[in-house]
């Protein structure tokens, strides 16, 4: 296989990953690294660098669309970005010192969690009491709904902050957006409406990934020849997918994609333990 064929195949795979990632709401980033390492035999460090770059691209273009609709809570996002960037920096530094085998195993575990979320129904966790800290940070807000503006309160900011640090660390260590964990921090712990949580999470993913991408770039983990088809492919797939988002039923697709992720999780853990990542 020469570089041209290699690039086209990876580009095609990335289009598919971006498309399914958007349609299922699970993000395409989680399957890029397993695809590059398990299918194309790419070293996991180059794979993480390329994946991270594609995560910034999709998050930024999706956030530009969401912000128009008025769902995202910019204050919540900005405040929690302190936590995710701190986490991302530590995750990226950790990636420089721990063995690729261990990274592969942790990646597998993150995939298992992602598969688990794909089989769960989104639920609303609401609480109408006031929270003094969220009032001081002026985070309570509203979002447009079919019945007009829906007002909501934000709760348990320290708890959300801590989980966001973990989400950031995983993002920096594995080159993924870790959107699933960010949404959990906001909707379950901070009791923010699901729609606001998902769009605000998308908003934060770009900043989080940029924090670790700087370190990866400076350490030579981002290869232009490899990142090129991944970034362009995921971007094309994701923007195509976002046009179909509201029209198609995605439940069966979610289940199917969840199964694929489960298989990849087992593969990553198995290969990591066996020592196929060096």
């Amino acid at each position: 296989m020469n570089t041209l064929e290699f690039t086209l195949l990876i580009g095609l795979g990335s289009v598919l990953a971006g498309l399914v990632g958007v349609l299922t709401g699970l993000g395409g980033g989680v399957v890029i690294v397993p695809m590059l390492t398990l299918v194309f035999g790419v070293d996991i460090r180059y794979a993480i660098g390329a994946s991270l770059v594609s995560v910034i691209a999709t998050s930024s273009s999706a956030a530009a669309t969401y912000i128009k609709e008025g769902y995202s809570n910019l204050r919540v996002g900005m405040f929690l970005e302190i936590a995710t960037t701190l986490g991302a920096l530590s995750g990226a530094f950790l990636a420089l010192i721990i063995s690729p085998r261990l990274i592969a195993v942790v990646f597998g575990l993150a995939l298992l969690h992602s598969a688990y979320t794909s089989w769960q129904e989104p639920k609303e966790f609401r609480d109408n009491k006031h929270d003094p800290l969220s009032r001081r940070l002026r985070m309570d807000s509203s979002y447009p709904d079919s019945g007009g503006l829906q007002y909501y309160h934000v709760h348990n900011i320290p708890g959300g902050f801590l989980l966001m640090m973990v989400a950031g660390a995983l993002s920096g260590l594995l080159g993924i957006g870790s959107g699933a964990l960010k949404v959990i921090a906001m909707d379950r712990i901070m009791k923010i409406p699901f729609k606001v949580s998902t769009t605000t999470s998308n908003f934060m993913i770009g900043v989080t990934a940029a924090a670790s991408a700087g370190i990866y770039l400076n350490r030579g983990y981002i290869d232009p020849g490899l990142a090129m088809p991944v970034m362009l492919g995921v971007l094309i797939g994701a923007s195509t997918g976002s046009h179909f988002l509201m029209k198609s039923k995605t439940k069966s697709l979610r289940t199917l994609f969840g199964t694929v992720i489960l298989v990849l999780a087992v593969e990553m853990i198995f290969n990591g333990i066996k020592g196929n990542f060096r």
């Binding site: 296989m1 020469n2 570089t3 041209l4 290699f6 690039t7 194309f40 035999g41 790419v42 070293d43 180059y46 770059v53 910034i56 691209a57 998050s59 930024s60 273009s61 530009a64 669309t65 912000i67 128009k68 008025g70 910019l74 204050r75 900005m78 405040f79 970005e81 302190i82 960037t85 701190l86 991302a88 920096l89 990226a92 940070l137 002026r138 770009g206 900043v207 990934a209 940029a210 924090a211 670790s212 991408a213 700087g214 370190i215 770039l217 400076n218 350490r219 030579g220 983990y221 981002i222 290869d223 232009p224 020849g225 490899l226 990142a227 090129m228 088809p229 970034m231 362009l232 971007l235």
Partner: protein, 119 residues
């Protein structure tokens, strides 16, 4: 939609578009020159010095090295969320919102630390 949302949306869209075009142009040049060679990503070697920091990347791109142009596009992409954060500080300053200027400032420092200071 208020001004803040309009500006931020535009910055994100513009940044991704510029990055995408640079990567596409550099990628086409790269494949024209190196397309027939074999890919070598099986073992990690790390990138050469000129593709690792801002100065080197800009230099390589100005010399029209295909990989340098792609890397400049990726640099623009990494800079896009950072530009968004800078813009937010400006907007909070205009709204005289001190608390969120500080919060956004902390985020900016962390981002710049990673991109510019870490070696």
């Amino acid at each position: 939609m208020n001004d803040m949302e309009k500006w931020i949306g535009g910055t994100l869209r513009g940044g991704v578009a510029v990055a995408g075009l640079l990567v596409l142009a550099g990628g086409a040049m790269y494949l024209t020159v190196h397309g027939a060679a074999g890919p070598a990503y099986g073992a990690f070697k790390g990138e050469p010095e000129r593709l690792k920091d801002i100065g080197g990347i800009v230099h390589a791109a100005r010399a029209l090295h295909p990989r340098g142009i792609i890397q400049l596009g990726l640099l623009c992409l990494i800079a896009t969320p950072i530009m968004r954060v800078i813009l937010s500080i400006v907007i909070y300053a205009r709204q005289k919102d001190k608390l969120y200027m500080i919060i956004t400032g902390i985020v900016l420092c962390l981002l710049l630390y990673s991109l510019v200071i870490v070696r």
